[in-house]
Amino acid sequence: MNGWLGQVSALLWKDLLTELRTRELLGGMALFAFLVLLTFNFAFDLRIDNVGSVAPGILWVAFSFAGILGLGRSFVQEKDRGAMDGLLVAPVDRAAIYLAKFLGNLFFMLVVEAIALPVFTMFFNFGIATPALALVIFLGTAGFAAVGTLFAAMAANTRARDVMLPLLVFPICVPVIIASVAATSLVIDGGTLTNHLGWLEMLAAFDLIFGILCFVVFEFVVEE
């Protein structure tokens, strides 16, 4: 068991170090989230009477679009540099690869979301950060990343990979988006956690079910 976890942390650490050195992925994702929020300002022509009503949607569009960007890169780097085969030939458990990639993607998305929140507050003059919101964002991002990591590996081996990834992820992640937006909306309206337990339970259930499913199925993606 220790050996397996060791593999996971080694792979994860490798990805994190690579990113730390180049910072191209995080920088790109954060900038993209920033631009999405910026575009929403223009899209609504500054005519939002009730920011609270559109805030959840704007946030999750920004999060998911930036997230797709990051997911798209998570396997492409390996594929392009031919490191993918090296990874698969090494005695590494496939599931460990999935877990490491998932954790890496989750981490990058959370960092970008943490950056995007104050940007949102600034642009829309609307403060929303609370611990309850953090929980919602975490659960939602985890579900998105679980599904996205699996499909990113698949899309990397497909023609038109940049197109296939969002097409694969968004329909499957509809429950995540619905539940995250609904829960975010309830948090913003000032409910306590118990008020929107239903949506949180749905998010947690999705994360659990699809986390396990994607984890199990991943080896079929990378078997060659």
Binding site: N157, P171, I172, V174
Partner: protein
């Protein structure tokens, strides 16, 4: 001296994807008759609904198409699971063909649902739980077809398709749940659906049975096409 002058072994000369056989023609005949009967049942035999009027008759084919679409996607799921387990090309072909037919049927469900909704609800589209879930379902399997088309080789396409076939199908009940919860937050038009009067039930069952036979017929034809393609590909490869 050309090795290719050797004649093909006898078995290979009989293609699995040949002409339609007697069962196909029988199914086609049953469908043709069945559709006439189903149309009669839907338009004449079934009584006119009191509140919605004759427009309600869309229900018989609309719901039958929906049930068959769900069946088709279940077959995709089944085929995907068995393919990953046994690596049988037959199951992969069944999955792929069923997905295509399912998309055609689901497209019709959405169109007829919209045409039904317009006079009843006054709008072409509404985020009714069932319509929304059907739309997501449609999107998932259209992406499935795209994934198969964009895969670089056959085996990978089969594998990836199988994964999506499983994940997509597992997702559907969750999508359904989330959409239903989502919609109960907002007022929505309701189509009354109490128990069906017996004549309506019979009309519905007739059209359901006919569509089921039709699905089987379409599957046989569509799978046959895949076998033809496979045989052609093998012939071309062996000469390449």
């Amino acid at each position: 001296m050309n090795v290719r002058t050797l004649p093909l072994p006898k078995e290979r000369q009989e293609t699995r994807g040949g002409t339609l056989d007697w069962l196909d023609w029988l199914l086609a005949a049953v469908c043709a008759i069945g559709f006439v009967v189903a149309l009669y049942a839907a338009f004449v035999y079934a009584p006119t609904e009191a509140v919605q009027g004759d427009v309600q008759r869309i229900f018989y084919f609309h719901v039958s198409l929906a049930w068959l679409a769900y069946l088709a996607f279940f077959v995709v799921f089944l085929g995907s699971v068995v393919y990953l387990w046994k690596r049988s090309e037959w199951w992969d072909t069944v999955a792929r063909c069923s997905a295509e037919i399912g998309v055609v049927l689901t497209t019709l469900v959405l169109i007829t649902g919209s045409l039904w909704g317009r006079p009843i609800w006054g709008t072409w589209w509404t985020w009714d739980a069932r319509l929304t879930t059907t739309l997501i379902l449609w999107a998932i399997y259209v992406v499935y077809l795209m994934l198969r088309a964009y895969s670089s080789d056959r085996m990978r396409g089969a594998r990836y398709g199988a994964i999506l076939g499983i994940i997509g199908f597992a997702d559907v009940p969750i999508v359904q749940m989330s959409v239903v919860w989502w919609r109960t937050l907002h007022p929505q038009p309701v189509i009354e659906e109490g128990a069906l009067p017996p004549q309506m039930l019979i009309a519905f069952m007739i059209s359901l049975v006919v569509f089921t036979v039709f699905y089987v017929f379409l599957m046989r034809v569509r799978v046959r096409i895949e076998w033809l393609k496979e045989e052609i590909a093998q012939l071309q490869e062996s000469e390449g």
